[in-house]
């Protein structure tokens, strides 16, 4: 190995170290930004080194440079625009799109390698086939997921006749084509077959999955992308791709597991699908249940004279874009010396940790954002638990066996001295069961749109405080 090659390897190693340390710094909000910058610095060094390698090798043609620079500039421009302009509520879509392009690029590397190489060794053929399958599934699956999140593709599970058969059939098709490709890596037919089957599988895998299961799906596709990039590293014999891909694969896997646990679903169950019907709540009225309806002034009195309030935001809050109104109310209560906490269930939002970002954007200090295990013991001390747009994750029925939410980890909202629920109707959450919290005698239902309701509460508290 020449001195040049050795230096290049060491620089790539340094970049990989930056990625690991950068992820390590993400263990606290105080250091996370520095961690991300460290990771970006590692990336910049890796890209610069690769440019030096290309110049040093001298095999690149003028067209090659043109392709590299225009492609890079185009992608960078789109990425820059997307990153600057995206709304925080649309973050899951953007992450899905980045998953799609990352997986797509990884698959293209393998396609190119198989097409261009004069002689393909078995190792390249095997990892190349895996790369195309995983990358292809990720690309089309993430595009569909982004479409569902954006509302371009219906969020409800789409099940077409024979859908149950389609997935195993397509899986058998790409497995067979992959074996053919490995046996004859230079033939075009199996290459096209593998690519098309992988793309089709991504579509048929994500289409039947409901909108509410999106946190799991995004995490899973994230893990896939990482694995595809690692496979591309195997194909190209490039260690830094393998390390980076493995890190992302690990991250995606952990998040997938956490999300699936928090939703009380197994990953297999979600992929087989047809259950997560999204937040398309069916209004069933108040039939059979006696609920206590409260008005803004009553709620304001409870809030203004509480000493501890725990706010429980759910996806409904984000859907109504009411995070700023909520933060305003929280700040008002805090300014009265009331202890205010935000209880964040792991699946609040449309991707892991989404609600925290939305509240951080609304200027809620992160020490007030409490994780489920941390906040649950505190509900017993809370005078008021204010539930905004959260449903199934507050249902005490989860503690009993024998219903759709049994065993689901929930926020112990019912242990607070008094509960206020802001909700538009008595509609069900995606699990489709009645929430026993709503019929609890100490629960007051404040029927309103989250945004208007919170604004009304804030005004009512201000009036009350002003006159007292």
């Amino acid at each position: 190995m020449s001195v040049f090659d050795t230096v290049v390897h060491l620089v790539y190693l340094a970049a990989a170290v930056c990625f690991v340390l950068g992820l390590h710094e993400m263990n606290s909000p105080a250091t996370a930004r520095r961690g991300n910058r460290l990771s970006a610095a590692g990336m910049a060094v890796a890209v610069a080194t690769t440019a030096v390698v290309i110049i040093h090798d001298g095999t690149i043609t003028a067209t090659g440079w043109a392709v590299l620079l225009t492609g890079g500039a185009l992608g960078a421009g789109v990425g820059l625009y997307a990153a600057r302009s995206v709304q925080m509520t649309a973050m899951p879509q953007l992450v899905s799109v980045f998953n799609a392009v990352g997986g797509g690029a990884a698959a293209l590397l393998a396609v190119n390698d198989l097409v261009q190489s004069g002689h393909v060794i078995p190792r390249t053929a095997v990892t190349g086939a895996l790369d195309i399958i995983i990358g292809g599934v990720t690309f089309s699956g993430s595009v569909i997921a982004a479409g569902k999140l954006q509302g371009l593709v219906p969020g409800r599970p789409i099940v077409f006749p024979g859908a149950r058969l389609a997935n195993p059939l397509i899986a058998a098709l790409f497995t067979g084509a992959a074996v053919w490709l490995i046996a004859q890596p230079k033939s075009v037919v199996p290459l096209v077959l593998v690519t098309v089957a992988a793309l089709a599988f991504g579509v048929t895998m994500v289409l039947p999955i409901g909108g509410a299961d999106m946190p799991v799906v995004i995490s899973l596709l994230n893990a896939f992308t990482g694995t595809a990039v690692a496979m591309a590293g195997f194909v190209l014999g490039n260690t830094v791709l393998i390390i980076a891909g493995a890190l992302v694969g690990a991250s995606g896997s952990i998040l997938t597991k956490l999300m699936a646990d928090a939703m009380n679903r197994s990953i297999g169950n979600i992929i087989i699908g047809g259950f997560g019907t999204g937040d398309s709540a069916v209004p069933v009225g108040t039939a059979g249940a006696s609920v206590r309806e409260v008005a803004a002034d009553d709620v304001a009195i409870q809030l203004a004279y509480a000493s501890k309030v725990i706010i429980v935001p759910g996806y409904g809050l984000a859907a109504a874009q009411a995070q700023h109104e909520l933060a305003g109310l929280g700040e008002l209560l805090e300014s009265r010396g009331i202890e205010v906490d935000y209880a964040i269930h792991p699946v609040a939002g449309r991707m892991p940790g989404h609600m925290n970002v939305l509240l951080a954007e609304a200027n809620v200090p992160y020490p007030l954002l409490k994780e489920m295990d941390e906040v649950n013991p505190e509900f017993a001390r809370a005078d008021v638990a204010l539930v905004v747009g959260a449903n199934d994750v507050t249902n005490p029925a989860a503690r009993r066996p024998g219903n759709a939410v049994s065993g689901m980890p929930i926020l112990d909202v019912d242990r607070a001295k008094s509960v206020i629920v802001i909700k538009r109707s008595m509609g069900h959450g995606y699990a489709g069961v009645d929430n026993e919290l709503y019929t609890d005698p100490k629960t007051g239902m404040f029927f309103s749109d989250a945004k208007k309701g919170l604004a009304a509460l804030t005004a009512a508290v201000k009036t009350l405080v002003g006159t007292s």
Binding site: G22, L23, N27, P29, A30, R33, G35, N36, S39, A40, M43, I54, T59, I60, T61, T63, G64, W65, V67, L68, G71, A76, G79, A83, F98, N99, G102, A105, A106, L108, N112, V115, R123, N222, V229, G233, F234, L236, G237, I242, I243, L247, V248, G249, A250, S251, L258, G337, E339, M351, P352, G353, H354, N356, A360, N363, V364, P365, Y366, P367
Partner: protein, 114 residues
Amino acid sequence: MSADLLTDLTVFVLSLLVGFEVISKVPATLHTPLMSGANSIHGIVVVGAMLIAATVHGPLGYVLAFVAMAFAAMNVVGGYLVTDRMLQMFRARPRVAPTADPAAPAGRNGSDPS
């Protein structure tokens, strides 16, 4: 199985384990930036795209390299920027301090670094 492949496999498995170890310590509060940050890390595929752009010949190769390059550059640039944008919103204290906060006892949250 060649020695090269075994080495690569070893690197892959150890990196997975390092990933599990490091990432399981990230608090749920930061899971969205974590995922978006991990997304930018898989933008390392841009290195692969650059390397193939340097070796391809013929129209098909150029098209593949162009698309791979555009995808990867979008991934890496957009990923890091949006992660940074999110992380700068996480503050320990609000921009405008509350007028009075006498009820907040010290050490109310162990993870508060300030």
